[in-house]
Structure formats: structure tokens, C-alpha cells
Symmetry: C2
Subunit: 233 residues, 2 copies
């Protein structure tokens, strides 16, 4: 209730608070993969429990933020003991859905598509690239880390026969809109979009964007405002 | 003042409000590149003015959010007239620092590094890739879109001689930490980090991360929670 009032007041004075449908702010959800990464590294180092203050030091965020973030998901910590690393890792993994296998295809097999196909890291998190596609005939039959590049004509059957959840679109924006529509019709539930365009998809279909130009502009915004602060101080 | 109180109350009840040093929420700043993209497309379509409601329809956000966002930067709109597209485009461009030229190098010239070197879009926004580097001898001398891949030994002189602002790190996380330290010592002011590691840099140095695994986990989080909602409804 208080949460709702704060959001209302905040929005009223021009602040935008971005909440997910579960009532958890997207900022918190966005931090979960980072917790997951640090917990994974702790496990690799053989550390089986950690206090929020130790975790806070490693992650360079306040212990209070860590407690607040994890409270959104029921806590997982015990007073005076800290967090059980493996348990917390697994619980966050479940929230992120990386405890299950997801079959993924990549459409657009240029440098970027091939770079993604080559990341073995994704596979360790349950994202298995099972097919590469391209309209360019010269790429057909090429093998990237054991995965064959196929022509677009095989897309429909491949999605239906191979239980594909996710399509990564690493192609120009002029093609992405049309291809997104196609793969959704063929049964894909999630699109990982690298094209510099906003995709409109039916309800229930998930889109996550990697807009590299926008990331670069954020870099340049911060570079510019840092320089201005430097000049004026 | 009200803004500060709302942030305090929000933080007190466990909400995290992410504000930049200018007092503008990072969420607003993050939306600027998207405004910039839409305004650029309007200009390409020959449209020279637009109301916030028309812009809202195109961008699929509320007109009120558009007005609120742009008010953070002094508005730019005129009551009853709408926004002058080119003026707004240029003003946001200045805020984003894309009205100036930035020289960029790419360290790590595998598929991902080459993909970035091949984006002509970045150059149109003022980000000019002037050099590629790799420790792999087999890549030395290779030309990507007219840009030569050089050995790491030439990094220091190249940065000093070519007024390099930005280094994109497209290399494994084990190397990224060391290389980031190097390039900062050589005078680079901003790091565009694709390695799956958090870089600690001195004050005044800007880092923008593209963590692809984390983006993929967000996709999977949304896919998982969409499916759960589907099952329970």
C-alpha cells in the first residue's frame, strides 16, 4: 500500500518508477543476474556461506541494498549466519529460469550471430544454440561450433521439430520486424532482439533488446557529463 | 526538495531509486537514445513537427511520460504547437554527446569485435573506430572495413597518437581487468565493456557494460514469469 502511494506521488512529480507485473521494480530484477554471477564465482572459489556485508564489499553495493533486493524474493538469509551461497545461487537461478534448458536459434549468421553461437557460457546457463539461419547462400552449410547455418526456408520446420523457445535476431532492422512476426507464428515464445528497432509482439511473447547504439550513447552521455563536471569544478 | 523526500521515503521502504549525479533518474536518461532514434526516423520521413500525443503513439509510451521525460531537460516543446523535430533531435544529440566525434578502438578482434567494427551506424553517430587490436598473431594485419588489426604492443602509442576517447573491450573476462587498467593509464576516458566482469576504474573514468549473459537471463526471467502467469490464470 505504502509502495503504491510512493509510486503515485513519485509519478505525479515527474519521476518514473518502473515496476514489473509482479510489483517488483525492474531495477531489482535487473540486478539478479549480477547476484547470480557473483554467487557462481563464490562457489567456484569454494566459499559456502557469506554475510551481506562481505557480499556487499565484493559487489561494491551497500549491504542494505543487498538485503532489500533479496527481501523482494523472500530473503533467503538467516540472521547472524549470512547466506548459504549454493542455496541462494540455486534459488536465484530458479527465479531467472536458468535451472531449465532453453533451446535457442540465431537468425542472422554474420559476425554477431557467430559470436553468440561461439559463447559456451550461455550453454552452461541452459541456453542451447541448436540452429543458425541466414538468407545469404554463401553461409549455408557453414559450421560454427558444431552448429550448421541453414537457409530461411527451413526455419518453420526446424522451430516446430526442435522445441525452440528463443530466437536471437542478429540481422538488420529492415528484416527484423518481418522475421519476428514469422517466428512468433511458428511458435517461438521469446525474442532476443539485436536489431535497432522496437518489435511489437502479441501478448505473452517476451522481447529483450540489446541495442548496442543506445548503450554507446549512454557511454557518450556519461563521458560528456563527466567532462562538463570536470570543467566546472 | 519534494523529489528528495520521495526518494528517501521510497528507499526507506525498500524501493531503490536510481538517480544520476545530475538528479535525473537513470531511467529517464536511458530513454533518451530511444527518443533520439525516433526523432531521427521522423526526420528521414520528412516530418518537421510532432505533438506529444503523436509521438506517444509511435513510441508506444504515454504522452504524459514523454512530457515528463523531456521536462527534465527544460522541455523543448511549445503549448499547442508540439515539438520541432529537428530542434529536439539536435538538443537530445547534444545531451548524449553525439554531436561530437569520438575516436574508438576495439580490443579483441574476434567475431564480436569485428561485428562492432562493421557497424557503419556507429560512425554516423560520431563514434569512429580507428583501430582494432588483438593478441592473436594470426589476426594481425587483417583488414576489417578498412581498419587494420594491430598487435597489443602498439596499443600505447596508438592511443596517445590518435586521441582515443573510447576503448571497446571484446575479450574474455580474464584479460579485461588487466587491459582496462592499461588503457586507462594510456589516457582512455571511457570503456565499453563486453566482458562478463565488473571493472573497477578510477574516478572520472566512464564504464558502460554490455553483459550479454545478463540480458539473456532477463529474457529467461520474463519467459519464466510469463509462463507461470499463464498457468495460474
Amino acid at each position: 500500500m505504502i509502495r503504491k502511494i510512493v509510486v503515485m506521488v513519485a509519478e505525479n512529480i515527474g519521476m518514473v518508477v518502473d515496476m514489473s507485473k509482479d510489483g517488483i521494480s525492474r531495477a531489482v530484477i535487473k540486478r539478479l543476474p549480477r547476484y547470480y554471477r557473483y554467487l557462481g564465482e563464490l562457489m567456484e572459489d569454494g566459499i559456502d556461506k557469506i554475510s551481506s556485508s562481505d557480499l556487499s564489499e565484493r559487489m561494491n553495493v551497500t549491504a542494505s541494498q543487498i538485503r532489500q533486493d533479496l527481501n523482494n524474493f523472500g530473503g533467503f538469509g538467516q540472521q547472524g549466519y549470512g547466506y548459504n551461497v549454493e542455496h541462494l545461487y540455486q534459488e536465484i537461478g530458479k527465479l531467472l529460469g536458468v535451472d531449465k534448458k532453453h533451446n535457442m536459434i540465431i537468425i542472422g549468421s554474420g559476425n554477431l550471430g557467430q559470436a553468440i553461437a561461439n559463447y559456451t557460457n550461455f550453454e552452461r546457463r541452459g541456453f542451447v544454440v541448436t540452429g543458425l539461419f541466414d538468407k545469404n547462400k554463401e553461409l549455408h552449410g557453414k559450421i560454427v561450433r558444431g552448429i550448421k547455418v541453414m537457409p530461411m526456408e527451413e526455419l518453420k520446420d526446424f522451430i516446430k521439430d526442435n522445441d525452440i523457445d528463443i530466437a536471437a535476431l542478429t540481422l538488420p532492422k529492415t528484416e527484423a520486424v518481418k522475421i519476428a512476426e514469422l517466428v512468433v507464428n511458428y511458435g517461438v515464445k521469446a525474442i532476443w532482439n539485436f536489431a535497432h528497432v522496437d518489435l511489437r509482439v502479441p501478448k505473452g511473447i517476451v522481447v529483450e533488446n540489446v541495442h548496442l547504439s543506445e548503450s554507446l550513447m549512454m557511454l557518450s552521455y556519461n563521458l560528456t557529463s563527466t567532462m562538463h563536471r570536470g570543467e566546472s569544478s
